[in-house]
Symmetry: C2
Subunit: 352 residues, 2 copies
C-alpha cells in the first residue's frame, strides 16, 4: 500500500469524501454520509431557469423544467452506488488520482422519472444508438476543457431501470448530489450517473469524449483501448468492530461474543452469500444474509457472531454473487486503479 | 508544505471531510457540505431511550428526553464553525493528524435551547465553576480509552449564547452532526461544540481529561502547559475562480472582469474588512463587505471585481477584525498544527 500520498491527492481527498464505514449500520445512508466524487466544482444552477434539453437523433426534441419532470410518472428505488475507483489506494504500484481506501459507497432512496419513458416520448429517430448525458460541471482533465459527459447504449436505457432523479431520501437533491437533476443507473459504478444534468443527446454511436475514451477503462497501458467499466463488482464491507484509535484507526475489541456486521452488493447479479474470516483469510465462516426488502439494486445486510479471543486478529469479509463472482484476496493493478474489489482487512486487538 | 501524507492521515482525510471551497457561495452551508471531524466512530443512539443527564454540583439534577428539550425555550442562530486544525497541512515541519488544507469550515442555522437557561434550572451548587460536556463517542487517543469530553467555565456559559442544538438548517441533526443533541458554542473552534451529548456535569474546576490537557493547546513542546484554544482566529476564504483541473486543482480564468468572492469570520470580534491581492500579497485592494444580516456569529460575504490579465497570478485574501487582528501572510508552527490562519493563496492561469 502506498506510504506517501501527494498534496494533489490530498486536495482531492479533502473535497471528496467517503462514507465512514460505521455508517454501514444504516440501511439507507443519511444525507451527508453517502460518498461523493466531484470531478470539477459543484455547480449552483438556478432552478427557475434550468431546463433539461433532449435533442440529437430524436423525433421530438424536449425542453423540460423541473416541474415538468416532477409531473411525469415517478418511481423510487433504493440504489447502492460505488465509485469505480474505490479501493484504489490498495493497488500497487500506486495510481495517482482520488485516493479512495474502501469508503466510496452509499445506499440511498432515489426518486425520479424513468429515462426509458422520456426517450420514448421524444422518439428515437433513425440511426439513434446511444444517449449522451451532459452535466453542468466543467473543468480541465487530461489537458481538455470539458463538461462532464458520459454516454450509454439506448438498449441499456430502454430496457433498464435508469431514472432521472430529483430526490434523495425524500428530499430535493442537495447541491453536491446533482441538484436539480441527475441520472441514476442502478447497478453501475457511479461515474455513469451524471450529476447536474442539462442535456440528453441521442447519437448514432457511443460518445468518444475524455470520460469514455480515457477514463473509466480497464487497461494496462496508455495506448491500449481496454474495456470500459460498467457494472459494479461484487463486494462486502464490514462495520469495523470495537473502539477506534484516533490517528491509526486500529481497533480494540473486548474478548467474548462480538457481532460482525456489514453490507454486500454486486452490480452483476444478486448477492449469493458472504463469508467472514478472523485469521486473515485462511479459514472462513458463512455469515447470515439479511432480507432483500430494499430490492435488487440495494446492498444486503449480513452478520456473524464471532467469539473474540485475546490477541491480534485480521478480520476479512468476502461476498459472492449469483453469477459466480467472488471477491479476490489480493488487489490487481490497472492503469486507473479501478474496480479493485479485493477483500477488506480489519486488524483488531482483542483484550481480556 | 508536506509532500508526503501518510496512510494514517489519509484514513482520517477519507472519513472526515472539508467543505469544498466553491460552497462558500452558499450563505448557509447545505447539509453534507459542512465540514466534519469525528474523533472516533459516529454513534447511533436510540432517540426513544436517549436522555441528557445534568449532574455534578447542581441543586436539582435533570434527566431530559429529546421531547423535554424541544419543549423548552428555543432559539435559532447562524453560526460559522471551523476546526482548530484548519490549515494544518500548511505548517512546517509537518504535524501528523487530520490533514486539513483550508476547507474545515461551514456555516449553518442551528436551533436549540440555551445552555444558560438549563443550568439556571438545575441550579449551580456551591463551588460549581465549570461544566463538563460528555459525548457518546468513544475511542482511544494518546493511549487513553475515553469518551469525547470538553469543559467550559460557567461564566462563559451563563453569560453567553451557547445552545444545546437539535436541528440544523431546519432539520433534525443528522447522525454525523451529533444526533440527537449537541453543544454549540458560537465563536469558538469546533472542538468545543461536543456532539452526541449525553451528560453535562458541573465541576469545581476545569476538566483535566485528554482533550483539555493534551489536545487543543497552543504549545511548542510536549512538556509545556501551553494555552488552551478557544475562539476562532480571523480568516477570509475565497471561492477559487474559473475552472479547475481535476487532479492538480489549478485554476484557469479567462481574461477580463472576474468577480472574486468569499466569506470572512472571526470568533474574537466583528469582521472589519477584507483585502484582496492578485500578486501574492505584495499589493492589496479593499473588498466590498456584504451585510451582517445573519448576525454576529456567522461569516460575512465579500466581493471584489478583478481585472484579470493574461499570465500567472497568485490570488490572496486577508481579513481583519474589530479587535485589530489581521491574518498573517505566513503560517506559524505549533505542536498540534492549530489555529493557522495564514492567508489563502490561489494560483490561477489567466488565458487570452
Amino acid at each position: 500500500m502506498a506510504e506517501g500520498i501527494s498534496l494533489e491527492e490530498l486536495q482531492l481527498a479533502a473535497r471528496n469524501h467517503g462514507m465512514p464505514l460505521e455508517a454501514l449500520r444504516w440501511e439507507i445512508t443519511p444525507i451527508g454520509l453517502h460518498y461523493l466524487l466531484t470531478h470539477y466544482d459543484i455547480p449552483a444552477p438556478d432552478p427557475a431557469t434550468w431546463r433539461l434539453e433532449v435533442d440529437g437523433l430524436v423525433e421530438r426534441p424536449l425542453s423540460l423544467s423541473l416541474e415538468d419532470l416532477r409531473a411525469r410518472p415517478a418511481v423510487e428505488i433504493a440504489v447502492t452506488m460505488e465509485c469505480a475507483g474505490n479501493g484504489r489506494v490498495h493497488v500497487e504500484p500506486h495510481v495517482a488520482s482520488q485516493p479512495w481506501l474502501l469508503e466510496a459507497v452509499g445506499n440511498a432512496r432515489w426518486r425520479g422519472t424513468p429515462v426509458a419513458g422520456l426517450l420514448e416520448e421524444a422518439g428515437i429517430a433513425d440511426g439513434g444508438r446511444d444517449a449522451l448525458f451532459t452535466g453542468l460541471d466543467r473543468g480541465v482533465e487530461g489537458g481538455e476543457e470539458q463538461a462532464y459527459q458520459r454516454s450509454l447504449p439506448l438498449d441499456e436505457l430502454l430496457g433498464g431501470e435508469a431514472i432521472l432523479a430529483y430526490e434523495i431520501n425524500g428530499e430535493p437533491l442537495p447541491p453536491q448530489h446533482g441538484f436539480p437533476l441527475r441520472l441514476l443507473v442502478p447497478g453501475w459504478y457511479g461515474m455513469t450517473s451524471v450529476k447536474w444534468l442539462e442535456r440528453i443527446t441521442v447519437l448514432d454511436a457511443p460518445f468518444d469524449g475524455y470520460q469514455m475514451r480515457h477514463s473509466y477503462r480497464l487497461r494496462q497501458e496508455e495506448d491500449e483501448e481496454g474495456e470500459p467499466l460498467s457494472r459494479m463488482q461484487v463486494r462486502a464491507l464490514m462495520v469495523p468492530p470495537g473502539l477506534p484509535e484516533f490517528l491509526s484507526r486500529t481497533r480494540v475489541v473486548p474478548a467474548g461474543t462480538c457481532t460482525l456486521e456489514g453490507r454486500a452488493w454486486s452490480g452483476q447479479a444478486e448477492v449469493a452469500g458472504v463469508e467472514v474470516s478472523a485469521d486473515g483469510g485462511k479459514t472462513w465462516s458463512e455469515a447470515e444474509l439479511g432480507d432483500d426488502s430494499l430490492g435488487r439494486w440495494a446492498w444486503r445486510g449480513w452478520r456473524l457472531e464471532w467469539e473474540a479471543t485475546p490477541g491480534e486478529h485480521e478480520l476479512c469479509c468476502r461476498a459472492r454473487d449469483a453469477a459466480g463472482n467472488v471477491q479476490p484476496l489480493e488487489s490487481s493493478w490497472n492503469l486507473g486503479g479501478y474496480a479493485n474489489n479485493a477483500v477488506q482487512r480489519v486488524s483488531v486487538t482483542v483484550t481480556e
